[in-house]
């Protein structure tokens, strides 16, 4: 653990590109290998794959998943986990949709984001100040958020959101879908946060060695609260995009979102043990998951085979990444 901290310090001293030292940059590139392999394979297999409209389509599909897993990435970097992201997405989406269709879009957006932030703050307080393991604290929050959504919705479904609000999920700016712009804007902001600010470097340090981080005078508790709050906030942000996209909200909104979010984080090379990884990798992870689904649809893979094929491709892409970047990754530290 002390070695990891020493590594991080060493890396900071070297010249940087995009906020990344050369060895870290190489690890990012290695994460892209699996993605590139998938793109090349699909381009050969399907003539419909390598078109502008299809590629933009894939990125658009990856966007909500990326938003959800980007906040989660921060938590995972501190060696924690947030199991409540799917449920928080559901709760925030329901609250926001209800108020927005009720005629108050600003309040709706604020309340949706506020609900996510509140859940995240509670998670963070439980983990940092009360010392509850993140798995337990956020598992509890998952049920609380689910339960609140059930009570709030009373078995109803909300349909028909205003067109202006729907722009963030279904709109375009020129040829680029809004969710894609939001995805890259968020990616850039979080990248700067992680690699250009003391706060970001602190997040890596906490994941690498929490004791050393505390002894070095870092406000560990407050930073932990920050990452869980960000995770909740990002989940509710993802909820707004999803609701705007589907034009409907019900309590099942967040169902089956948690594991793909964790998968995107891990596929992107962020270590579940903390201190290693980053949001750029998570974007790659989300893109891989969207690509696999796109590929299966384009190739017409049988419905019953799709779940198995998805699992297989995930394992193959991690394996490809290990072969190319494994050695560097082990030696290189944070990306």
């Amino acid at each position: 653990m002390t070695m990891q901290l020493a590594r991080a310090n060493g890396a900071m001293a070297r010249p940087e590109l995009l906020g990344l030292s050369p060895d870290r940059l190489f690890v990012v590139v290695s994460r892209l290998v699996a993605l590139t392999l998938l793109v090349v394979t699909l381009s050969i297999l399907s003539p419909h794959f390598l078109t502008w409209s299809n590629l933009i389509n894939v990125v658009r599909h990856a966007a909500p998943l990326f938003l959800l897993s980007a906040g989660l990435t921060l938590v995972v970097l501190t060696a924690g986990i947030d199991l409540s992201v799917g449920a928080v997405l559901g709760l925030s989406g329901c609250i926001a949709a209800s108020l927005i269709t009720g005629g108050d879009p600003v309040l709706g957006i604020a309340a949706g984001l506020g609900a996510g932030l509140a859940c995240g703050l509670v998670n963070g307080a439980l983990v940092s100040y009360a010392g509850v393991p993140s798995f337990i604290a956020t598992y509890g929050m998952m049920w609380i958020a689910n339960g609140l959504a059930y009570v709030f919705m009373q078995g109803e479904v909300i349909y028909g959101l205003p067109a202006e609000f729907r722009l963030i999920g279904a709109g375009f700016l020129g040829p680029i879908p809004m969710p894609v712009l939001i995805m890259f804007g968020t990616l850039a902001a979080l990248h700067v946060l992680l690699h250009r600010t003391p706060l970001g470097r602190g997040i890596y340090a906490i994941g690498g060695n929490p004791v050393a981080a505390r002894l070095s005078g870092m406000p560990v508790h407050r930073r932990l609260v920050f990452v869980y709050a960000m995770s909740g906030l990002m989940a509710s942000f993802a909820a707004l995009v999803v609701v705007a996209r589907t034009n409907a909200a019900d309590v099942s909104l967040g169902e089956e979102q948690l594991l793909p979010a964790i998968a995107a984080v891990c596929l992107g090379g962020t270590s579940l043990f903390g201190g290693v990884g980053g949001v750029t990798g998570t974007a790659v992870g989300a893109l891989i998951l969207a690509l696999v689904l796109n590929g299966m649809n384009l190739l017409g893979v049988n419905t019953f085979w799709q779940a198995g094929v998805l699992g297989f491709i995930i394992l193959v892409s991690v394996f490809a990444d290990q072969i190319v970047g494994g050695r560097i990754g082990r030696a290189g530290g944070a990306t």
Partner: protein, 333 residues
Amino acid sequence: MTISRRQFTAGTLAAGAATALGTLPSGSAFAQGSKPTIAFFVKNVTNPFWKACRIGAEKAAKELGINMEVVAPTKPDNIEEQTRLVEDWIVKKPDAFVFVPVDYKALVPSVQKANKAGIPIINYNNKMTDIEKVTFIGSDDALFEYEICKYLFNSMGGKGKVVHIDGVPAAITAQMRKKGFERAVKEFPGIEVLASQPGQYRRLPASQVFENLMQRFPEIDAVVSANDDMAVGIVEALYAAGRGGKTKVVGIDGIPDAIQAIAEGKMFATVDFSGHDQSYLAVQAAVRHLKGEKVPAEILLPVFIIDKSNVGKVAKTPEERAVPSWDKVAGKA
């Protein structure tokens, strides 16, 4: 959802004690002049379908003057929790179970215990086998999809390129609906199936899958979706891609959003899959059985297609919906 733990009455106790499997001396509660109690099961309290079921059942209970307790797992569709609920309610011994299993196979042993305890079972929505039941009341998924496909294919002059969006691959309803689709396709040689891909019965995955398919197929004449939620997502995707109005989209269920889309001319048609009617008739069947009337062994709801011509007459909420006529539906069965 509050599931009140109401004490059972002396009447229901006696009714339970008097029952024996197969030779059910029905009508005991009525005979003693007390209100019978029925345990009405739903799969969850989160999905509007089960809310419609609850409303339909409550209408019947009110009309017939019985006590009805709604029994629902707190975790949606949870097998283990429903198993415990069934066991709890066997101990409470209501006059009848109006029952839908969260899983039609996993709940068989629990319902067999209720059989042994002599509680009459009225099975609705998802059909169970290997249990003793008074009747099954539901809708035939395969027939529903077959009929909507036939209606769609005829409207296309019997030829065209069609995409099918499946439900959850593991769900029995999704498999039955797909069978209905395949049966209809066989009868129309001019219909070409471009693709059949899973949309998980949910809007976001279905619209994403369909957007992928639009990349591959520049021309799609019609889409058959295994439920309405997905169908509405597909309609959205078509309009977002500037391909709205050229592709006929059909679904199953008759959810308010789909009815709205049909009224706006964006969606072609759907089949009314009414939980409200199923549960209303199921509670009716329970009470009729307790009164000693003969109830048909199976009651299947008629296929009712909603399209532009009749969409204005369709009730938007289960509260507003008219109750079905027992004689009309059960008389036919």
